[in-house]
Structures are given as C-alpha cells and as structure tokens.
Amino acid sequence: MKDFSLIARTRRAELLTMIHRAGTGHTGGALSSVDILVALYYGVLSYRPDEPRWPERDRFILSKGHSVEGLLCILADVGFFPKSELNTFSQYQSRLIGHPSVKVPGIEICSGALGHGLSAGVGMALGAKRMGKSWITFVLMGDGEQAEGSIWEGAMAAAHYQLDNLVAIIDRNHLQISGDTESVMSLENLAEKWISFGWVVKECNGHDVVRLVEQFESCPLQTGKPTLVIAHTIKGKGVNSMENIAKWHHGVPDANQLRQALDELGIKEVDL
C-alpha cells in the first residue's frame, strides 16, 4: 500500500517551495486540492509518462486551472518531466506557467479561464462512448467556479448523453478571492442542484486519500449517469497558518513561513 500521507505532504512541501522561489502562485487552492490529485494520480488514473498522448489513457482536466502548482509537482514526480524543471515555474521563458498549458507533457487542455473544463470533459467522455473506448474522464472544478454559467451547459449535456464515464469533482473549500462562497454568490444547495441536472452526487472528505480512491474507483455509481463528487476540503490545508484564510488564495510564503510550513508537514528537505 502506498504511503499516501507521505506523498501528499511531500507534494505540498514541493509546491510551497516552488511558489516561494517563483514569488507567485495560488497557494490556498493548490493546497486544498492536493489530496484529490494524489488520489487520482497515485491511485486511480491510467497513464504513461513516457507516452503522454497514449490514446487509451484516462483523461484529467484541471478546470480550476489556478491550482496548477500541485498538478505540476505531481506530473514531475510521476515522470512526465524532470523535477528540477519545477524551479522554472513562472520564470522567464518557462513552459511551466501559472495555469495548465498543453506545452507541458501530461496536460490535456489549456485551462485558467474558469468554467471551461467540464465541457471539454464532456467531449472527451462522449468521444470515448462514440469510439467504444474505455477511458474515464475526470474534471476537477473549484467551488467559486460554480458561478460560471457554462458549467451548467456542460452539466446538462453530460446527463443528456448519459456519460457514466465522466466524473466531475468539486473542491469544496468554501473560499474564493473575495471571501466565503456563500456570501459572494451562494451555491447551496449544491448537491441538489447537480442531482436536478441528472447527476449522481456523492459527498466525501476531500483530504482522505484512501476514501477518495475508493470513491473514484466505484464510479459510475449509476449506469447511464455522470457522477459528481463534492470533496469537502479546507483551503490552505496542511499548514495551520494558511488554513481557511482567503488572503492565501494567492499569498506567497516568505522564507520563514516556508520553513514553518515544512516543519509542520514533517518534510525536512525538498529536492527540486
């Protein structure tokens, strides 16, 4: 059994180090989605780092593209590109920019403009159905992102085409740049909204990697229906001083804050 806790803590330490060195990044959302990404990349998805466009691979789309830091650290760790390249994050002429780019091996589609990922995921899942392929498509969205109308266009289409090979995930951390999601633009009752759009909805702890893996592996929960997993998370998860504080949406840790964070994560050294 893989030590998911160690994997997740190490990726958190790497992404914080990367953001610190770059002087820019979306710290809070990256930390809240790490465990979901770890569950997918170390426990669920089929992929080949030496053949990124392997036609049969499972597809993953990071619709909340601003949380790219955790994804980049994972793609490097599993072998899509050298880990040392993480030091170029957001630097002059780097291909590791602040949002997912198809120039990076392992990234399926450019994202960053919110509300786009689900539609692309619908296309990938529908393509699999039409071509008789067995890959599964996963799309990770933010909760603030739910205010984008295009998401609901994609939600309708997924149910209409009975895409039970599509799993959407919401990183439900309750915080967006301006504050609590319920005060900015209330989303609740989120589960009921998705159910009424024809989806099967499951809620779970978005930081329990073992549970997340079980949850994803058990999809589809109902034949002929797409699945939505509402992963309840904490923005800034893993570092006490960053948890549930909106300013860490794109706050950058200084040297002291980074040292404290690594101590807290129990990671002595980050090898980038």
């Binding site: 036609p55 597809r59 780019s101 198809v102 399926e108 589609i109 450019c110 994202s111 960053g112 403009a113 509300g115 786009h116 689900l118 539609s119 692309a120 995921g121 619908v122 296309g123 990938m124 899942a125 529908l126 393509g127 699999a128 039409r130 071509m131 392929k133 498509t137 295009s150 266009e153 994609g154 309708m156 289409a157 209409h160």
Partner: protein, 319 residues
C-alpha cells in the same frame, strides 16, 4: 452551382464523413440553418447536438478532438465569434485543438434581424487570436474545396460564410472560369492589371471581380485578388500585386475596424504605402433591411467599387 456556401459545406462534409468516421459535426440547434438535416439523419453517430449553448459546443468539440476525432462545429457566425470567443481562444487556439468552426449566415446575412445577428466583428476578433486560421470562402465551389482541405489540415480554424446563394466565382460556369483550387494561406489572382488593385474576401469577391471587369472596359487595368485566408495572410501576394498597381481598394462584409481593409492597410503602410479606399460597413448599428438593401445602403456594390477606384486614380495614385 450558385448555391449558398452553407449548403455546399453540408453536401461536402456529408460526402467526406461517409468515408472518414473520425469526422464529427456539432450543432447548437442549428442543423436546419446550416442545412445539416440530411447529415444528422444519415450519420447520427457522427453528429452531436448540444442545444442552444455555443460555449459548451466549442468545449465539447475540443474534448472530442482530444479523444481523436475531427470535429466541425457549425452554427451562426454571430454567436460563435462572440458568445464563445473565449472558448475559441483557450479551448481551441491556445490548446491547439483540431477543431473547425463553421460560422454560417455571417456578415449581414440576417439583414433585418439586426445587430444581435450580424457578425461584422469576427475577422477583427478571430484574426487577433494566436494559432487560429481564419477563412472566408468566396462561393460554393471554393467552399467545397476548402472543406476538403480542412479535413486534411491539423489545427484550429474559424470559417465564415453567408446565408444566401452566391454567384459562382469559380467552376465551369463561374464568372472567372477558374477551377476552385484551394490552399490555406494562399491568395488567388483573378485578374491581372497595373492601375487598380482590388482585394476582397468571402462573398464580396464576386463584386470585386465584376468591378474589375467594368474598370477594364473603361480601359483601367485591374488586379483582383481573392483572399480567402485572412490568417495567415498571403502578404507576398498582396505586396506583389500592389507593387505594380497605383491604388488599392479593399472590399469586405465586415466593419471598417479590424477587417481585411485594416490588415491590407497596415501591411502596405509598413512596406509600400499606396492610396487606398476601404469598402466595408461603418462601425455603427446598421440600417434595417434585407442584406442586399444593406449592401446598397453602405456602398458595397459594383458601382461604388468602380467609382471609388476612379476617384483614387483622379486624386493621383502612386507612380
């Protein structure tokens, strides 16, 4: 043929999709307007209906191309070039998705339906998106040749065509008699002369050619250049033709701002300035009328092209 370009597209894509099962056509409640009813009923597995949701349609098409299919999105140009502009920019162009967007009933095709249904900004918008090819076919013959070329071309493309039947520029009965050979990025010289250069794109090419004939009758030798591809622009052809001409005219079914005229003017301005007249629509909400009334009202006519050419020459062209 003298049929609408959208019909030429629909006939050709059906023929091509019958032997290439990776082709898939997506519509947003637009199969009737595009004339894709036959395609949808004959090839239901290669057709996707998304309802009235252009943003979703482009995103789904990007996903289908990632899956290994060759998606063609077909619906009104006014909506695809504006409502889903961000999806075209990010999901298609930035992501280098192999998706073709066929914008139909473009320009002022919808005439009296008003500004909401006109697409007079699409050349400006789409040619400013990196890694996006932009094409406006001149007639049904060129549309068929283009459609075939698009199935062989890897990468994102935006195409705009009109609603009504267009006189044949190409083909055996066409006004030029030229065969409709089409290569992305290449201009076609329809007539060669030394006094006036008329550049045109899309369904105004037939007007430009007729104006060229009229000028020739008056003893003014004219070059008429059909520029079906606006991005990448065939700069070599434009500069080559303008080298030997004294004045330049551009004709297009688009706003004065950011269309063919702007592209040609900035190219010439940096390389070989020429007295020039842009024939296009003013940047305003246009007068109500059928598309031909609107064309007449704003001077998108053979007569106006001819008289503007004369005026430019009278004022003194480049020697």
């Amino acid at each position: 043929m003298s049929i609408p370009c959208r019909q030429a597209f629909s006939e050709k894509i059906l023929e091509l999709a019958q032997t290439d099962e990776s082709i898939v056509v997506l519509c947003s409640d637009s199969r009737g307007s595009v004339t894709l009813g036959k395609y949808a009923s004959e090839l239901p597995e290669q057709f996707v209906e998304v309802g009235i949701a252009e943003q979703n349609c482009i995103g789904i098409a990007a996903g289908l191309s990632n899956a290994g299919m060759k998606p063609f999105v077909a619906g009104p140009a006014c909506f695809y070039s504006m409502r889903s502009a961000e999806q075209v920019k990010v999901d298609l162009a930035y992501s280098n998705s192999n998706v073709k967007v066929i914008g139909i009933s473009g320009g002022v095709s919808y005439g009296a339906l008003g500004t909401s249904h006109h697409s007079l900004q699409d050349i400006a918008t789409m040619t400013a998106i990196p890694n996006l090819t932009v094409i406006l076919p001149a007639d049904a013959w060129q549309t068929k040749a283009m459609t075939e070329a698009l199935t062989r071309h890897e990468g994102p493309v935006y195409v705009r065509m009109g609603r009504g039947a267009v006189p044949d520029v190409y083909g055996p009965d066409g006004m030029t008699g030229l065969s409709p050979e089409f290569a992305i990025g290449e201009a076609i010289e329809l007539m060669t002369g030394q006094d006036v250069l008329i550049t045109a794109t899309g369904e105004t090419v037939s007007l430009a050619y007729q104006a060229g004939l009229r000028l020739a009758e008056e003893g003014l030798s004219t070059t008429v250049l059909d520029l079906p591809t606006l991005m990448p622009l065939d700069e070599k052809a434009i500069l080559g033709a303008s080298t030997r001409c004294k004045v330049v005219i551009s004709v297009e079914e688009h706003s004065m701002n950011g269309g063919l005229g702007s592209l040609v003017a900035s190219l010439l301005c940096e390389n070989m300035p020429r007295p020039m007249k842009k024939i296009a629509f003013p940047n305003e909400n246009l007068v109500t009328g059928t598309s031909s009334q609107v064309f007449q009202h704003y001077g998108l006519t053979v007569e106006n092209i001819v008289s503007q050419a004369r005026l430019l020459l009278e004022r003194g062209g480049t020697k």
